[in-house]
């Protein structure tokens, strides 16, 4: 896990470290096994095309869990993910990378916790945003 990030040191408008993830067909198979989602649109080319899809597509839930990893790796051991949520607005064809990103939109204290809200999402190599969402993370304060 990365060095601890402190609430005092982050700013609204700040990007958190992004992930650049290869979405190979092999990875989708591994996710299918991990998640139990064996719907064929994610690994069977013919099935996908017969279901009006251009290619096999990345599982929405995998993208959602990549957002979870983005936050988990950023929060540090003393931080806590309060929640996150994403909408799968666009399909991500397999066999290309996606960027998993987060940007702090609000920094505040509530009920004794130091919190930040973030916009989060997944983007295709051409910048197309497919998976917009939001998150809240509690961070430790210095001292």
């Amino acid at each position: 896990m990365a060095d601890q990030v402190y609430w005092d040191d982050v700013q609204e408008g700040q990007d958190i470290p992004a992930l650049d993830e290869e979405m190979s067909s092999q990875r989708l198979i591994v996710w299918a096994a991990a998640s139990g989602d064996f719907y064929q649109i994610h690994y069977d080319d013919n099935f996908a095309k017969n279901n009006r899809l251009p290619d096999i597509i990345v599982h929405g839930a995998l993208k959602g869990m990549l957002i979870g990893r983005l936050l988990d790796e950023w929060r540090g051991e003393q931080g806590r993910i309060v929640n996150w949520g994403v909408s799968y607005r666009g399909m991500d064809p397999a066999r290309q990378n996606i960027k998993v990103w987060g940007k702090i939109t609000k920094k505040y204290e509530q009920d004794g916790e130091a919190l930040v809200d973030l916009d989060v999402g997944c983007a295709q190599p051409d910048g197309t945003q497919t998976t917009p969402g939001t998150a809240t993370v509690a961070l430790p304060k210095r001292g």
Binding site: M1, L19, E21, R27, V30, W31, A33, A34, S35, G36, D37, F38, Y39, N51, R52, H59, G60, A61, L62, G64, M65, L66, G68, R69, L71, D72, E73, E77, R80, I81, V82, N83, W84, G85, V86, S87, Y88
Partner: protein, 167 residues
Amino acid sequence: MVQQDVQVTDAERAAVEEMKKSVGQAGAPTRYEVTSTDIRLFARAVGYTNPIYYDEAAAKAAGHRALPAPPGLHGRPVFNPANEGRGGGGQGGRNEHFPRGLNGGTEVEPIKQVYAGDVLQGVSTSTGVDLMPSRAYGRIVVRKTETVFTNQDGEVVAKTRGTGISY
């Protein structure tokens, strides 16, 4: 709410009305087992490199009692072919009228750390069924569900909210 510009057959509309009868009702509890093997496989698929998700010694050195589940992992439903739809991936709301499905969204509220060896109970409640127009598919059914996961000690460990799309 059924929107007036949605083009559907009478049979499709009837199927949606049937789906709506489940709104507000909790389904039967589902048992989820959390194993160290599943934690490692989930972590691998999502790309974690933190050793606490793979190495029990590293997990314990970091203060965990066992391998911790990464956020969003709530175990695996126990598969039993005699119990159709339970643990086999289910049909996700798809039926003869709306045979294809997509995942529309995921919300996760982690509440308490889940560990290898935990046995969770998940109870899902349908919170909404709506027939909507779709540029791509003409019409879609949007289904919303909330699931509450409770561990073997009766503690709520997570809540998730999902959106499923059938077309």
